[in-house]
């Protein structure tokens, strides 16, 4: 096995036993980046110099006996998470030169545990998209087939993990932006419960839906990272003051008798047959491990995508108002104030971002608010209740992560509605605020990864991690690596 293919737990073991040093590991990862990044384009900014420095100081700390949970682990961070002194672009022209004077809470926690930042990864501009094609700095490619999209919006992070350009990564998930690309890139992506992880320093797309989560090569790494980034933060009022369990300790526990809900509404038309078959196989596998599959109903699922595109765009239209050319970021010249605003935003934002700002502005406008925003909030409440009711009888819910494997670059860019449907299985999880994880569960005849999504109760990441781990232990999908 190549050094860059190590998991967090594997690398920590190798470092702990003295077989590998953080600097060696970091150098191996950068060697890999140099070899494949030209094909993948996972990064917006590569931070080699500071990474080697961080690896050195991790090494010194380890010698001193200070052992962070991520000491010397090279990780990539989605470029919508603010990193002090390192530019944070959101893959947008409007923030192309923006260098935050502050650190996001999650990356601060990673730093405290001694991680090494390899670079900032590409995304759909402001996390708006499902293919990482909406980046002002070019599209990221799927390591399994570079003619295909990696999914999005955390496509850069997922492709980087899959291609060995980092040991693990962080992404953000508003409607599936961690889980969908994780499925399409054959890695593990976890969206925690809304409020589990602080959003401070995550550039907001839709504040009531955004959540940061780990993107890793296996389930154990996901639990390790979740341990580090979870917890109440005084800087984020929406982060929940709830206790954080040790997510690693539940791995390997028996899943016998655990009830797995299969929502009947998720068997949609136009579903890819191979994906469908792999997901059914995965459920059978879980049954063979002692879990009990049960049919459940989430009756309002059909309204989720529509409600999501009202709520997320409404919040986005307001969240993105601050990019006005006055204080930081791009400023275009204008005849007067209004013209400066218009030129700046016309030049600074890409077309998908503009489309969503217009949609959201419309939905919040006086006279339309009740018909759109308010109605969508009511649907959101119904969807939340659907999940509550389902979780009265089951412990977790299993679905495909996406209806189809990765599509070709450019295939859906002209058809936003088709693009929006690739998040059909993930969106309702954000609306309900519950946690969801995507794990590899097969490869199509075209050698493209397929993802299984496991959804848990509020603040019950333990159950989905436990089941995901049990599944992973009895399969080899997660060990497959793309040939590049």
């Amino acid at each position: 096995m190549e050094t860059y293919d190590l998991t967090i737990s594997g690398a920590l073991q190798a470092i702990g036993s003295g077989q590998l040093s953080p600097v060696e590991l970091t150098k191996a990862v950068f060697k890999r980046i140099e070899a494949v990044e030209g094909k993948i384009k996972a990064f917006v900014t590569i931070a080699k110099e500071s990474a080697i420095e961080q690896a050195r100081s991790a090494e010194i700390n380890i010698k001193k006996g200070v052992k962070g949970a991520l000491a010397g682990i090279p990780m990539a961070v989605k470029d919508n998470l603010c990193t002090e002194g390192i530019r944070t672009t959101c893959s947008s022209k409007i923030l192309e030169k923006f260098i935050p004077p502050y650190e996001s809470t999650v990356t601060k926690k990673l730093k405290e545990q001694g991680y090494v930042l390899t670079g900032k990864t590409n995304l759909d501009e402001f996390a708006m998209g499902s293919s990482t094609e909406n980046s002002a700095f070019g599209a990221t490619r799927n390591p399994w087939d570079t003619g295909r999209i990696p999914g999005g919006s955390s496509g850069g992070s997922c492709a980087a993990v899959s291609a060995g350009e980092c040991i693990a990564a962080l992404g953000s998930d508003t409607g599936g932006s961690i889980r969908q690309p994780a499925a399409l890139c054959g890695v593990v992506g976890l969206k925690p419960t809304y409020g589990r992880v602080s959003r401070y320093g995550l550039v907001a797309f839709a504040s009531s839906l955004d959540q940061i989560g780990p993107i890793t090569k296996d389930v154990r790494d996901s639990a390790i990272l979740l341990n580090v980034i979870s917890g109440h933060d005084l800087l984020d009022s929406t982060s929940a003051p709830v206790e954080v369990p040790d997510f690693v300790s539940v791995l390997g526990r028996d899943i016998k008798g655990m009830k797995i809900g299969i929502p009947k509404e998720f068997l949609i038309e136009g579903m890819d047959k191979e994906v469908d078959a792999f997901v059914r196989d995965a459920i059978k596998k879980l049954e063979s491990l002692g879990a009990v599959p049960l049919e459940v109903s989430l009756p309002h699922t059909g309204y989720a995508v529509a409600a999501y595109y009202i709520l997320a765009t409404s919040e986005a239209s307001s969240n993105l108002a601050r990019y006005d050319g006055v204080k930081y970021g791009l400023r275009a010249e204008g005849r007067d104030l209004m013209d400066m605003y218009m030129q700046t935003r016309a030049k600074g934002f890409g077309s998908e971002v503009k489309r969503r700002i217009i949609l959201g502005t419309y939905a919040l406008s006086s006279g339309y608010y009740d018909a759109y925003y308010k109605k969508a909030q009511q649907i959101r409440t119904l969807i939340k209740k659907d999940f509550q009711r389902a979780f009265e009888t089951v412990d977790v819910i299993a679905t495909p992560t996406t209806p189809a494997p990765a599509f070709k670059l450019g295939e859906k860019t002209e058809d936003p509605l088709q693009m929006y449907l690739s998040d059909i299985f993930t969106i309702s999880v954000n609306l309900a605020g519950v946690p969801g994880i995507s794990i590899p569960c097969g490869f199509t005849s075209g050698n493209l990864p397929v993802g299984l999504q496991l959804i848990g109760k509020h603040f019950d990441e333990e159950s989905i991690l436990k089941i995901a781990y049990a599944y992973e232990q009895s399969t080899d999908w997660h060990k497959k690596r793309p040939k590049l």
Partner: protein, 478 residues
């Protein structure tokens, strides 16, 4: 046709918190531009607001003082509009669920009491300030004020004339200052109001079309602007015209209101619940705790001053108009001062001197116990009332005790009859002409003799003894 005005006010009061509404920056006034800012209040990407609990507490306090219902559950909302002094492109405010609802303020009008009802009180953040250079080429943005906590108090359209509006504002100012939630400085803009004004024929129930009047930054301008606006609207209607719903600005220089924007040009603020903040839940125990900390309010204090100290209504009103004044008074009475005596000295001398110096009671060097010391010297005849005024001024200036000043300047009253008699004799002897006129019946000259005696004794002669002796001598000579 006779018209009457219908006025509702929206008051913005800057809260006296140490830090801003959603971050830890200072709210001090007058610092160098952009020195009191941080990533949160300048709206950098990815930062989040954290509510200042003190600001919420101040609004609850105000709600209790203004007889409002404090909502157990309220929410912040975003008010969206673009302006350079608004760093996030939205203001965090409250819309559907404000912190306080209902309530009223009582004002006195022609000695009868009128209740002005309140609609709501909500909490929001202030914007920054745009500064334009003289040549008009550049504009600058100062975000020191951005994020300062503001409380908005909205009245029902219960006000019927400009004087009532001013009375209301004065009363509100007194209360807000009493409960120490706002420094009520209209000049610096920490206490300001907009007015919704309409007129209608007397007897008509429906409201007329309203105009919103802004930029009235003193009581005088509120009165003038409203007077002007009411006249303007009545004139338009009498001439057969129609009032347009619009926002108008008071132009101080020209003494008129001018159209700023019409209803069609009005912003659509696209309010929606602020997703970065959880709803504000106010437990009954929190309200109770704030209630126990609430000071006695001016109205009940006034009534108590009348009943407890036997003060006339006028005195009580004046002494309770400022919390510091009322507390000074009560402190003096507690130190043994006679209420009416303390009140007379405060209203006659102390408030006059403070007023002359343009000072607040809080800045007064003289302590209540010192006034009582002075009153005791008068009572026991050590100094005369007349001398006391001089002593008081000295005390006010230096903060020294009365007896120290009296001793140092030799102002002790002369009550020695033989000493005074000598002076009386001398004055009568030296003013023969006046004496004769007095004897001829010009009794007004009694005051002249007293004056002469006081002049010679430098005011120190006990006036009672002077009077007695003088009368006795004058009678004798008859």
């Amino acid at each position: 046709m006779q018209y009457e005005a219908v006025i509702g006010l929206e008051i913005h009061a800057q809260l006296l918190t140490d830090s801003k509404m959603f971050c830890g920056c200072s709210v001090k006034f007058g610092s160098e531009p952009n020195t009191q800012t941080c990533p949160v209040c300048i709206g950098m990407p990815g930062v989040l607001p954290v509510t200042n609990k003190n600001a919420i507490e101040y609004v609850i306090k105000t709600g209790l003082a203004l007889n409002c219902t404090v909502s157990p559950y309220s929410r912040f909302a975003r008010k969206n509009y673009f302006y350079p002094d608004l760093p996030k492109g939205y203001q965090i405010s409250q819309y559907e669920l404000p912190l306080c609802e209902g309530g009223y303020v009582e004002i006195t009008e022609d000695s009868s009491i009128k209740k002005i009802k309140l609609t709501r009180i909500h909490l929001e953040e202030d914007a920054g300030k745009n500064i334009h250079d003289g040549a008009g080429n550049y504009s600058f943005v100062d975000l020191n004020r951005a994020g300062t906590p503001l409380m908005e108090i909205v009245t029902e359209p219960d006000i019927r004339n400009p004087q009532e509006a001013v009375e209301f504002m004065k009363k509100l100012r007194t209360i807000l200052k009493y409960i120490n939630v706002c420094d009520v400085n209209m000049e610096q803009g920490s206490f300001r109001c907009d007015a919704n004004v309409s007129v209608r024929p007397v007897g008509q129930k429906e409201f007329g079309v309203k105009a919103e009047i802004k930029n009235m930054n003193s009581f005088k301008f509120i009165e003038k602007a409203l007077e002007y606006e009411i006249k303007r609207q009545v004139k338009v209607l009498k001439e057969g015209g129609r009032i347009i719903q619009e926002t108008r600005l008071w132009n101080t220089d020209r003494g008129i209101t001018e159209s700023m924007r019409s209803k069609e040009e009005a912003h659509d603020y696209r309010y929606f619940p602020e997703p970065d903040l959880v709803p504000v839940e106010v437990e009954p125990s929190w309200i109770e705790r704030i209630k126990t900390q609430l000071v006695e309010l001016p109205d009940s204090r006034l009534e108590r001053f009348i009943s407890q100290y036997g003060l006339p209504g006028h005195d009580a009103g004046l002494l309770t108009s400022e919390r510091a004044t009322a507390e000074w008074f009560e402190e003096a009475v507690k130190s043994g001062g006679d209420p009416k005596g303390v009140s007379n000295w405060m209203m006659g001398e102390l408030l006059r001197l403070l007023n002359e110096d343009n000072k607040q009671m809080e800045e007064c060097a003289l302590k209540p116990g010192q006034l009582v010391g002075l009153l005791n010297l008068i009572e026991s005849g050590v100094i005369s009332g007349k001398i006391a005024k001089t002593v008081f001024e000295e005390m006010y200036k230096t903060g020294r005790d009365a007896d120290v000043i009296v001793k140092k300047q030799g102002l002790i009253q002369v009550s020695d009859e033989s000493a005074i008699e000598k002076v009386v004799d001398e004055v009568l002897k030296n003013n023969q002409k006046e004496l004769e006129r007095f004897k001829a019946g010009d009794e007004k000259l009694l005051g002249f003799f007293v004056g002469q005696i006081m002049k010679i004794t430098k005011g120190k002669a006990n006036p009672k003894i002077v009077n007695e002796l003088l009368k006795k001598k004058l009678m004798e000579d008859n």
